[in-house]
Symmetry: C2
Subunit: 438 residues, 2 copies
């Protein structure tokens, strides 16, 4: 038995023993008239069901996506993503827990205090240490890290392709050298699905090739076609595994094509044929100008199916979050809130705060007076600056807690704006505030 | 205004504005017959008063010590130490927050989860960074670090005397070089009192000379006399400051004398003349054999006044805690639980656990099945080992939380044993378990 609380153990156990789930409910056809009032009653009924039948949530052991509202002007969407570990309000930001831990934050900090419903863990790192077989033996990643909510794992592709010099790409997959001990390993489209199923991830990602920036059109074309072939192989393998499995785990393929809209369109069209549970836009944040990242998302927005969740991988800065949502994105992840926190960069509703600056030496105010996180309710800038300069690990955990909360607050604002049909005004407001700050 | 919660601000503000408190209540004469039943009713009435008149606690702006029970065989004592920031059940272990933070633990982890009532902060470190004047400006250490309970600060002597080569002792005090920037500073008996009053410490310590081990009898004698003179100067200065102050802060002198019982006895007798609020036994844990540390505590147990709290500085290992208590000690502090935690050494009711050992790779059990700390309720040895090997800071905070809880649990067991008159059996049990473990 794991050391988690009894109720949590039961909850996990139920999920893992759940019978094969029915296929996702049929969704409305593409581009119907924009939802107006009905979403309100839908939301109420979802809440009512949750209150009246709390067990239903864990019995819904499948991924399905429910559109709750859509901005008629931008196409920004608010939805509900149902997973075997709870429903997630979208658009959603997923904090990154590379080694099965968001740096410095406990399960309670994340799930109870911050209300995180889904987090991301890195397949590459967990495959190398502690290894997927150990995680399987420990009852999956949820039990291993004592995490009650949903988990998305990447395929490891991005990390492997960052190991330039330590990896070799073939049509079968990628051979790479562990950064820990130099051992050689191979990831294939099939093996990364199996690794992620050993983790028990609610959402798995296909192995993709993520080219660096810039690359030639020809290289990007070949690479994109390889990514599509890998996605097809991964999809077949995943369907076979799911047909044998009592539990349900989604698989999202990833649109690539470097910074070439034509290649991205070809890629997306091929992936749509797979009728996957959701789609990701990858190959962003690899050094390209920010405008180009947004353009690449736009290049496939009308190709990716409206009724499936769309995930922009590895983005972005706070002011960019609504920009992605304005381009039809429902899910995002990024190490920025946690990494910047540790490095002394704090995000506030008024812009960025560099905690080591002497001006905060005797500043009794919280990081952000509008923030309700534990750090802001309890500690001053002055104290946090002192902890930062003293190299105290408490600083990292308090700062990360704040920065993650800031991201979640932004997502909350965005969702609220979409649902209340004020998203275009909200976006305008964010854009002018960003201009002011520059 | 600081960012703490409103109720906490009010609480602090009240304490700092409280009128000069009446002198400590007279205590029973030395060595009366051992308390039997009356302590029970006393405890009940203290609790009842707390429930009925919660404000009374903060109005009691003085340090006083109340004996609740005493072991007739060993002289081990259970008491209540009243401070302007709450009453503390003794014997008590004080976690160390060197830079105004116990490494990796938030105020909530410490005060709410672990129930810590008093912690120790280091004057040397806080004097250098962020500086006592800044802390005074920020409303004192309690407000600065958002800590609602009591604080004891050392005098900085121990740290300064550890800076061999970077300090020079004179009869006036000690000149030392900052380990941060090489600047020269001076600590005198008077200045360290002022620094600690700027912190607003509930319990201040006098500047003492802490000789290394071993030293000659002659050096120890001279050094001890210097410590006594400094204590007399500090005491005069502190009484003068208290006569001007609206708040009350205790000052404990420190018994020195290296490992020479005769010198310790002379020192203690001189310090008793000061009629201080409490007494510390210093100069321990400087490299001497453990038996000698205990012998040095014994050397002054019958000299130090029974009705005052006694504090053994910088001790000890879990199995040593009851040994100090058996020698009349009421307060202890040590970096061991937090430092060992970070280094992978976890204390359990069954002995020490070295978390990196391969045997814990797939161990689903908590660190200690008998422990109720957050870490043990939530996480497995397997997961903690993974976090440790991955260098995750979450490991440090979870491990520290456990180790501190282990120390507090031991103190709780000790107190319970004293109150229920089973302390000799408890001590016997701990000793035989220690022998088994060796």
């Amino acid at each position: 038995m794991l050391c988690g609380e009894y109720s949590f153990q039961l909850y996990c156990a139920d999920v893992h023993k759940a019978p094969a789930a029915p296929p996702p409910r049929p969704l409305p056809p593409q581009r119907p008239p924009v939802l107006t009032l009905p979403f309100l009653s839908l939301r109420l009924s979802v809440s009512a069901v949750k209150i009246l039948f709390p067990r239903l949530q864990s019995d819904l052991s499948q991924i399905s996506f429910e559109l709750v509202a859509e901005c008629p002007e931008t196409g920004a969407r608010a939805g509900l993503l149902h997973t075997p570990h709870g429903a997630i309000e979208t658009p959603v930001f997923m904090p990154v827990g590379t080694h099965a831990a968001v740096k410095g934050l406990s399960q309670r900090d994340l799930a109870e205090d911050l209300g995180v419903k889904i987090l991301l863990a890195n397949t590459y790192h967990l495959f190398l240490r502690p290894g997927h077989e150990l995680i399987r033996k420990m009852g999956g990643l949820h039990r291993f890290m004592s995490w009650p909510n949903a988990i998305l794992t990447d395929s490891g592709g991005f990390q492997v392709f960052s190991l330039s010099g330590l990896r070799k790409i073939t049509d079968e997959g990628v051979i790479f050298q562990s950064h820990l001990d130099g051992d050689l390993h191979t990831f294939t489209p099939e093996s990364t699905v199996d690794v992620q199923l050993a983790f028990g991830s609610d959402i798995c990602m296909v192995l993709d090739e993520c080219p660096e920036y810039p690359v030639t059109h020809e290289y990007a074309r070949q690479s994109m076609h390889r990514t599509v072939r890998w996605a097809q192989q991964a999809d077949r393998h995943h369907r076979m595994r799911m047909s044998e499995s009592a539990t349900r785990h989604a698989l999202f393929p990833i649109v690539q094509g470097s910074m070439f809209p034509d290649l991205r369109a070809v890629c997306a069209r091929s992936l749509v044929d797979l009728d996957s549970d959701g789609y990701a836009v990858g190959g962003l944040s690899v050094g390209e100008p920010r405008a180009l990242s947004l353009e690449m998302v736009e290049a496939t927005r009308d190709i990716l199916p409206r009724q499936k969740p769309r995930y922009a991988m590895g983005v972005g800065m706070p002011k960019e979050l609504p920009e992605y949502v304005a381009r039809g994105i429902d899910m995002m992840d990024c190490v920025l809130p946690s990494r910047n926190a540790r490095n002394g960069y704090l995000f506030t509703s008024e812009g960025r705060l560099i905690v080591k600056h002497a001006r905060y030496k005797d500043d009794e105010r919280p990081i952000d007076e509008k923030c309700q996180c534990y750090t802001c309710r309890r500690y001053s800038r002055s104290y946090l600056r002192h902890l930062f300069l003293s190299g105290e690990i408490l600083y990292s955990s308090l700062a990360t807690r704040h920065n993650v909360r800031r991201y979640l607050d932004i997502m909350c604002e965005i969702r609220h704006a979409i649902i209340s049909f004020t998203f275009p005004e909200y976006l305008k407001c964010v854009r002018s505030a960003s201009l002011d700050a520059e």
